[in-house]
Each structure stands twice: as structure tokens, then as C-alpha cells.
């Protein structure tokens, strides 16, 4: 099972809350489904993101996919070198391949997301 220290979206993003900052990435399952990555488009620090809306795009040899924000808030950090070093996203999407950090307001920012067990069920169903 994937780490229980974070929450998951059905579109295969993960979000980990630390204080009032949520780190957002895509799961290893998402990367496996995408295949070899060729392009990543991330927003800038200071941009706003909205829950359910695309904040960027990731592209593989075969397809392009939206990156969906799990939360509302302002971007306080972007994994800057990642677009030029896609290996980190390809091989460690749950760790060094994180995408953005978002400052959220309210402890309920992650409500409605899947926990690790529910996400595991989804992955099994889609495998």
C-alpha cells in the first residue's frame, strides 16, 4: 500500500499536509500508466490553484495529462529543476519528484480526498 501520511485523488495526484502547506505530486501508479515522460509544465510561485482545476500538464511519449490540484490556495514553492530532470519524476514521484507546495487555509483542506486504503482499491481496479 502507498504511504498513509498523505491523501489521494482519483486522478492519481497525492497531497501531504504539513502545517498549513500541502505538498502535491502524482503517484507512482500515474507515472507507470503514463510511461516515459517527455515534458512537464508547472505554474509559478504566487499563482493560485483551485481544487479540481488543472495547475499544469505532464506529457509522456503517448499522451498528455492534466495535473489536478487537490486543494484551494496559493503556490508557495515549485519543484523548479524537475522539468529539466524528468528522471526524478519518473523514478521517485512520491518523494523527490513532488510538483508544487500550496498554502491552504483551514484544517478541512483535504476533505473529500481518498485515504491510502481507498486509493489502493482504485489502483487495483484500474490495473
Amino acid at each position: 500500500m502507498r504511504p498513509s501520511d498523505r491523501s489521494y485523488l482519483e486522478s492519481h495526484e497525492w497531497a501531504k499536509l504539513d502545517g498549513d502547506v500541502v505538498t502535491v505530486g502524482i503517484t507512482d501508479f500515474a507515472v507507470e500508466q503514463l510511461g516515459e515522460l517527455v515534458y512537464l509544465d508547472l505554474p509559478s510561485v504566487g499563482d493560485s490553484v483551485s481544487s479540481g482545476d488543472a495547475f499544469g500538464e505532464v506529457e509522456s511519449v503517448k499522451a498528455v495529462s492534466d495535473l489536478n490540484s487537490p486543494v484551494d490556495g496559493e503556490i508557495v514553492a515549485v519543484n523548479d529543476g524537475l522539468a529539466d530532470e524528468l528522471d526524478a519524476l519518473q523514478t521517485a514521484p512520491m518523494a523527490g519528484g513532488w510538483l508544487i507546495q500550496v498554502r491552504v487555509s483551514g484544517a478541512d483542506a483535504m476533505d473529500g480526498m481518498l485515504d491510502a486504503a481507498a486509493y489502493e482499491e482504485l489502483v487495483v481496479a484500474q490495473s
Partner: protein, 362 residues
């Protein structure tokens, strides 16, 4: 090709081989097919560097037999059939009355009165219906589901591999030649054809030959290659794919495939009258490269900010290590080309087709 999950997918005779080789299997035109064996780009590079084998047993296999077959097919297809020599293959097309392309295909003349044909899996039923309705005395047979299949052996090492596979040291069929060599697997039916731009062969195997031939090719160091890399290789080679560069609203000339309807000015065939009366094409098929993002199918193409066309196919090129694409654009469009990708524009550069030179004639 999307397939509803309730529909039972067909499996090729190599299904268990793909599973054993770690393939990612996906639905494609009603078949469960290997998308890749771990790396689309790695598989494409292996074909260019040495040799790869593709299971393309999903493609439809037809037979046409009878003394009238040549003349009737000559009328039914866009390309001349009567002058195909016995033992030769030819690329051709199935056209609508209005000259639009229903499918592209290869016809193999195995005897004076016998023709084998391979068409796209996604068009199998429609092609069969059109062809049968256009023939009178020819005996038609669809053997797609007879348990046999097609293995495409492609790459610069293909001749040597074929010689090792058959045990015939001087076996070297010429471009578009057919051959029936004896081998440890019995007589093989092969053609010097392919869809990668590389020198290669398509091996038409029986149900009994499929698995042993596949396994022997892998033993000989041939890389298994999935449909993902096949798409990379064919686009690098500028080879058309039905549903992308060619379809019902495109005629062979617009697609740059006039050679596939050789003799069109004088021959009597379905679609010929329309081609003779067709106005000069107002759009032209071009190639583009891009820096980072892949121009994908359906993205609008702009020239100096004005929309002039649309992307047909786009993929990341394993050989050039950059994104490549084909597009139909208005003839004569000159200026700075961009594509509009999901609301964002990025520049693309015109490139000669094919992106990677053909070596198929060897």
C-alpha cells in the same frame, strides 16, 4: 481504437509470450495487444540499431482467389493489381467513389490467380464489406481469426536474423519480394515489407508456427517491440496511419501517396473518376518538429497567428530525441508556425518528411 469493456477482446497466438515478456497489454481495435514491454523509446531505438519483432497479428488477413481476381481487384482498389508480378507485394488503397481513402493496405500476389491482402485491424469489417460488394466471381476468404498471425521483423539486422531463423545462409529477398523458405518451423511465408522505414520482413505464421518462431527470434537477440514504438517508428518514417494522415475526407494526392494509385489517369477503378476530376489540393501534408512539447492530434496549426491547419499525428521521436508531428496545412502558408495546445501556443518548425530516412530498400 476504443473498445467497450463488455466486449470480449481477441487475443493473438502470442498472447502468453507477451505476458511472459512483461508487456503492457491494452485494447486495440478489438484485440488485446502489447503497447510496450517497458520502454516505447527503447524499443524504437532497438529497431533502428539492430532488429525488433512486432506481433501484428491483429491486422486483418484476406485471400482473393480465382481467374477473375486480378481484374476484379484492379477495379476494386486504387492501385493497379493486374501488373503485380507473382511473388511481389504492393502498397495500395481502398477508395470511396469520391476518391476519399477508406483504408490503405498491402496486396501480395502469390500466384496468377491468388492474392493475399493485409488491412488495418480497425477497418476489417468495413473493408471486407466494400471489397466483397465490389467483386463478382472472386472467392473471398477472411482468415484473420484462423489462429495464425503476422510477425514483423524490422531493423538493419533483419536479413542476418532471417537467415539464422531459416538456416538458409543466402536468403535475402529483395524489396517487396515474397518468399516461401523451408525452415525448422516448416515452410514460412514471408514478404520484404514493413512499417518502420527499416529493412525488414513480415512473416505470416500459421497457428503452429507463431510461438516457436517468436521464441526463436527472441533467442537470436531480436527485441520484442510494442504498438507504442511502432507508432514512433512509422511517424519518424513519415508513413501514413489510417485515421490520422489518411481517412475518408483525404484523397491519395493530398496525402502525398499518389504512387499508391499508379495508373490513375487511365485506369478504370472505383474512385478513379473522382480523382481525375479532383481540383488541385488546397492543403498539403507537412512535418513539424518541436522543442519540448509534443504537437498532438487535433491541435490547431497557426501561421503568423492565423489558423491554417491541424495536427494529424504527434509523438516523441526516439531517433531524433525531440517531438515530431504531421499536419495538413493550407498550401502556400509561409511564416512562423505555432500550434495551439489546450489553450497555450508553442512554436513548431517545418521539417522534411520522412523525419528519418528510409532504409527499407537496403
Amino acid at each position: 481504437m476504443a473498445t467497450s469493456p463488455t466486449q470480449k477482446l481477441l487475443q493473438t497466438p502470442l498472447h502468453s509470450c507477451h505476458q511472459a515478456a512483461g508487456a503492457k497489454l491494452v485494447p486495440f481495435a478489438g484485440w488485446e495487444m502489447p503497447l510496450d514491454y517497458g520502454s516505447i523509446l527503447g524499443e524504437a531505438r532497438a529497431v533502428r540499431a539492430s532488429a525488433g519483432v512486432f506481433d501484428v497479428s491483429h491486422m486483418a488477413r484476406f485471400w482473393f482467389r480465382g481467374p477473375s481476381a486480378a481484374v476484379e481487384l484492379d477495379h476494386a482498389l486504387g492501385g493497379c493489381v493486374t501488373d503485380i508480378a507473382v511473388g511481389k507485394a504492393r502498397y495500395s488503397m481502398l477508395l470511396q467513389e469520391d476518391g476519399g481513402i477508406l483504408d490503405d493496405l498491402i496486396t501480395y500476389r502469390t500466384a496468377e490467380d491468388a492474392f493475399f491482402m493485409v488491412v488495418n485491424a480497425s477497418n476489417r469489417d468495413r473493408d471486407r464489406d466494400h471489397l466483397v460488394s465490389r467483386l463478382t466471381d472472386t472467392v473471398f476468404e477472411d482468415i484473420t481469426e484462423d489462429g495464425g498471425g503476422i510477425l514483423a521483423l524490422q531493423g538493419p539486422a533483419a536479413v542476418k536474423i532471417l537467415q539464422q531463423l531459416t538456416g538458409i545462409d543466402d536468403l535475402a529477398p529483395g524489396f517487396l519480394d515474397l518468399a516461401w523458405p523451408q525452415s525448422p518451423f516448416g515452410e514460412l511465408f514471408i514478404a520484404r515489407t514493413g512499417y518502420t522505414g527499416e529493412l525488414g520482413f513480415e512473416i505470416f505464421v500459421t497457428a503452429k508456427q507463431a510461438v516457436p518462431v517468436w521464441n526463436r527470434l527472441l533467442e537470436l537477440g531480436v527485441h520484442p517491440v510494442g504498438l507504442g514504438a511502432r507508432d514512433v517508428l512509422r511517424l519518424e518514417a513519415g508513413l501514413a496511419l489510417y485515421g490520422h494522415e489518411i481517412h475518408e475526407a483525404i484523397n491519395p494526392f493530398e496525402a502525398g501517396l499518389g504512387f499508391a494509385v499508379r495508373g490513375w489517369k487511365t485506369r478504370n477503378f472505383i474512385g478513379g473518376e473522382a480523382l481525375r476530376n479532383a481540383a488541385e489540393a488546397s492543403r498539403v501534408l507537412v512535418g513539424f518538429t518541436a522543442e519540448k512539447r509534443v504537437p498532438r492530434e487535433g491541435y490547431p496549426v497557426l501561421c503568423d497567428g492565423v489558423e491554417v491547419g491541424v495536427i494529424c499525428s504527434g509523438i516523441y521521436s526516439a531517433t531524433l530525441d525531440l517531438p515530431i508531428a504531421t499536419a495538413y496545412v493550407q498550401k502556400g502558408a509561409v511564416g512562423a508556425f505555432t500550434v495551439s495546445a489546450r489553450g497555450k501556443e508553442f512554436p513548431v518548425q517545418l521539417a522534411e518528411l520522412p523525419f528519418v530516412p528510409h532504409r527499407s530498400r537496403g
